[in-house]
């Protein structure tokens, strides 16, 4: 989605690349990783980091790499035992230039370097084609920032992410609308795009489950600017909330026209609406509108302030956005290695699925697809012409998540590994 706006959400999927790269990946013979070194030798475990280190998104990519590096330094300082051996972690950082083609080259390079795990990539357009290569090599991949739902829908057991995907926003927004805003009758509008309609349908399904009345589900397009007819129809149904699945060029005029028609309902949207452009287009009418963005504001993360300070001391610069995700990804991987007693991907991958980790970004657990369970989402509201965080929808506690999970939790595995000292 988000055709424009944040560069962090570039999700060009080059499915043809997946195919061509698949052929490339098949040719490579993967020699068995030599991890069972003789006892006296320290165990060296390579962790790959792949993100855009050059180009317009370099600041985000370097941020992720630094997060990974900080985690590795912390772990080395703590002296981690994997099995009976003292492990030393090594960073192998690669630059994918936010480019899907380069991403596959880099992925192969990391596979050839025999990394035990990869934290990356950042762009969905890079993560998706690269995931095939990691999957073929059996190397776990945790993306710190790719939000396209397709990333985890390829059916690879090696694919994980530590950020909410686009499909998780709808249900969270619905819960917020009904439990917090006490909305009882809701009208839904979507822009007939994959993003907008998906978001609106997800929202509607959860809203219905929670007992709200969906009084209308209207459709427009991502080119339209006249919504008076559908808004008038909605006005007749007297909803207390209007949810829009779409992006700001429609949302701005829409909220203006809502005001023209004297519709009193609240207005809510997803991350396509949470942009400065929406406020510009909507003018005064945008006041009070609500929209969400996946993830927490960085200072609201459970380990946020401590992490921000540590990061600042180490790199002499502030966290951009995804460094905490990169940090937590490494911690999650190493925790799984510890539980499995091995850094061999084949051995610790099953343990990775049982992750119950209290990280900087909050509790981390994966669902069967490798998506973050109960991923946090922040809801913003327009106040005095600015987007301001209104409420963070905190993920449910790990324990509750484990109960609801059908997967049998391995005994002992549920104890969250302490990262904070």
């Amino acid at each position: 989605m988000t055709l424009h706006s944040k560069p962090i959400m570039i999700r060009t999927i080059m499915s043809s690349l997946v195919l061509s790269v698949g052929l490339l990946g098949c040719g490579k013979e993967q020699p068995p990783a030599k991890v069972e070194a003789p006892a006296p030798q320290p165990l060296i475990i390579k962790i790959g980091s792949a993100s855009p280190l050059t180009g317009p998104q370099a600041h985000i990519g370097i941020d992720i790499r630094n997060g990974v590096q900080l985690a590795i330094e912390d772990l080395n300082a703590a002296g981690i035992m994997i099995g009976d051996q003292k492990a030393t972690f090594e960073l192998v950082a690669e630059d994918d230039e936010a480019n899907p083609t380069k991403a596959t080259t880099v992925a192969q390079k990391l596979v050839d370097a025999k990394v035990a795990a990869v934290v990356g990539h950042f762009n969905s357009g890079a993560s998706i084609p690269a995931s095939k290569i990691y999957a073929d090599a059996g190397i776990p991949q945790i993306s710190p920032g790719s939000t396209n739902p397709d990333y985890t829908l390829k059916g690879y057991p090696t694919t994980f992410r530590v950020v909410a995907h686009d499909g998780q926003q709808g249900p969270t927004l619905a819960r917020f609308a009904i439990n917090t805003l006490k909305s009882r009758s809701i009208a839904v509008i979507d822009d007939s795009t994959a993003y907008g309609q998906g978001l609106a349908d997800n929202f509607e399904a959860t809203a219905k489950e929670l007992g709200a009345k969906i009084v209308a589900h209207e459709h427009t397009t991502d080119k339209d600017t006249d919504f008076k007819a559908i808004l008038t129809k909605i006005k007749g149904k007297k909803p207390d909330l209007i949810f829009f699945g779409g992006i700001d060029p429609q949302a701005g005029p829409m909220i203006k026209q809502m005001q023209d028609l004297r519709i009193k309902a609240r207005f809510m949207g997803g991350d396509g609406v949470q942009t400065p452009n929406f406020i510009k287009l909507g003018g005064a009418a945008s006041e009070g509108a609500m929209a969400s963005i996946p993830g927490l504001p960085k200072d609201k993360m459970p380990g946020g302030n401590e992490f921000l300070a540590k990061f600042k001391t180490r790199f002499n610069q502030d966290v951009e956005l995804f460094a905490p995700m990169g940090y937590d990804a490494v911690q999650v991987l190493v925790a799984a290695m510890k539980r499995a007693g091995s850094a061999d991907p084949a051995k610790y991958l099953p343990e990775l699925k049982n992750t119950q980790h209290q990280g900087v970004i909050g509790p981390i657990a994966f669902d069967e697809k490798g998506d973050l369970k109960n991923a946090p989402i922040t809801i913003y509201v327009v106040k005095a012409g600015q987007w301001e965080p209104l409420e963070v929808i905190q993920p449910e506690p790990v324990a509750a998540a484990a109960e609801s999970s059908p997967a049998p939790a391995a005994p002992g595995a549920t104890a969250p590994t302490a990262v904070k000292k």
């Binding site: 559908i230 008038t232 129809k233 060029p249 005064a284």
Partner: protein
């Protein structure tokens, strides 16, 4: 009931804008038998020029009515010269060429204008800051704001004025003569080139005002907005009977109202089978039905080669 009235009002305002743009299509078609595909884009230029001018003049501290008037005047001048140049450069050299040739140049001109606008204004949406918040009044439970009333009244005046102009002025008589038979009109001393240029000038000026209305009404414009607007207006012109000025007015109003009512009631009427996303399909379905029953359109001329 209030919802029905509101939908009628929505449709009336939308239809007035369609009708104004449709006038440009129908006048040119009436005289030249040419579908000027660039007309929607002339309207787009009108909208973007007025948006820019309103912002500049407002920033310069002029009172709102003055800046609106000046912006409208500026847009009319720009669009009239644009329409005049299009005719002079792209259509006049092809006057005696096969009918397909000017059609192709029309499409070419349309694309040229779109991408020139993309160069000038960028590909982003252009937002007009809310400098006016028109007060609204309640009528039979429906909301009408002063801007909507102004749009409908201004559109009605322009349409009435144009019809008067065509039927009662010297130039109008020359236009009607050229429409009936360019060769004979020319022999009778009518400067047909000047008449055709005037037609483009008038149509584009009216398009500019429609553009100003769009930008004020929706507060948003972009370089591609002329395409859909042009398509709808062209449909309205065909619906009313292309070549007939009164037909364009009726076609425009009808299309606007059909669209609004379709979006509002199609779901109930079809028992939930079709949603409001089918409103355009519904509008075009009406067009097809009208053309099947009356191929010349509602008020169209009965000549064999037209419409």
């Amino acid at each position: 009931m209030d919802i029905f009235v509101q939908q009628l009002i929505n449709g009336l305002v939308l239809g007035s804008i369609y009708a104004l743009v449709a006038l440009g299509y129908t006048m040119v078609y009436g005289i030249l038998g040419l579908i000027n595909f660039a007309h929607g884009d002339v309207t787009m230029i009108g909208a973007l020029v007025s948006a820019t001018l309103i912002q500049l003049l407002h920033a310069a501290g002029l009172p709102v009515p003055v800046s609106l008037l000046l912006a409208g005047g500026g847009a009319v001048i720009v669009c009239a010269s644009l329409g005049f140049s299009i005719e002079r450069i792209a259509y006049r050299p092809l006057r005696n060429a096969p009918r397909l040739a000017p059609l192709i140049t029309a499409i070419g001109v349309s694309i040229l204008i779109q991408y020139s606008a993309a160069l000038i204004w960028g590909k982003q949406y252009i937002a007009l800051p809310a400098i006016i918040t028109p007060p609204s009044i309640e009528f039979a439970g429906a909301q009408i704001n002063h801007l909507q009333i102004a749009i409908v009244i201004l559109a009605a005046c322009i349409m009435g004025g144009l019809i008067w102009f065509i039927h009662h002025s010297r130039m109008g008589r020359a236009m009607r003569a050229t429409e009936q038979n360019p060769a004979v009109a020319s022999l009778m001393g009518v400067d047909t080139h000047a008449v055709i240029a005037m037609t483009f000038l008038l149509g584009s000026a009216i398009g500019a005002i429609a553009g100003l209305m769009v930008i004020l009404y929706y507060g948003i414009g972009h370089y591609f907005m002329g395409f859909m607007l042009g398509l709808k207006a062209f449909t309205a012109a065909v619906l009313g009977g292309i070549g007939n000025v009164g037909g364009a007015v009726i076609g425009g109003l009808l299309l606007g109202i059909i669209e609004s009512l379709a979006a509002g009631y199609i779901e109930q009427l079809s028992g939930g089978l079709f949603g409001s996303n089918y409103r355009d399909i519904f509008a075009f379905l009406v067009l097809i039905l009208v053309l099947l029953l009356r191929p010349q359109g509602l008020l169209g001329q009965r000549s064999g080669d037209r419409a």
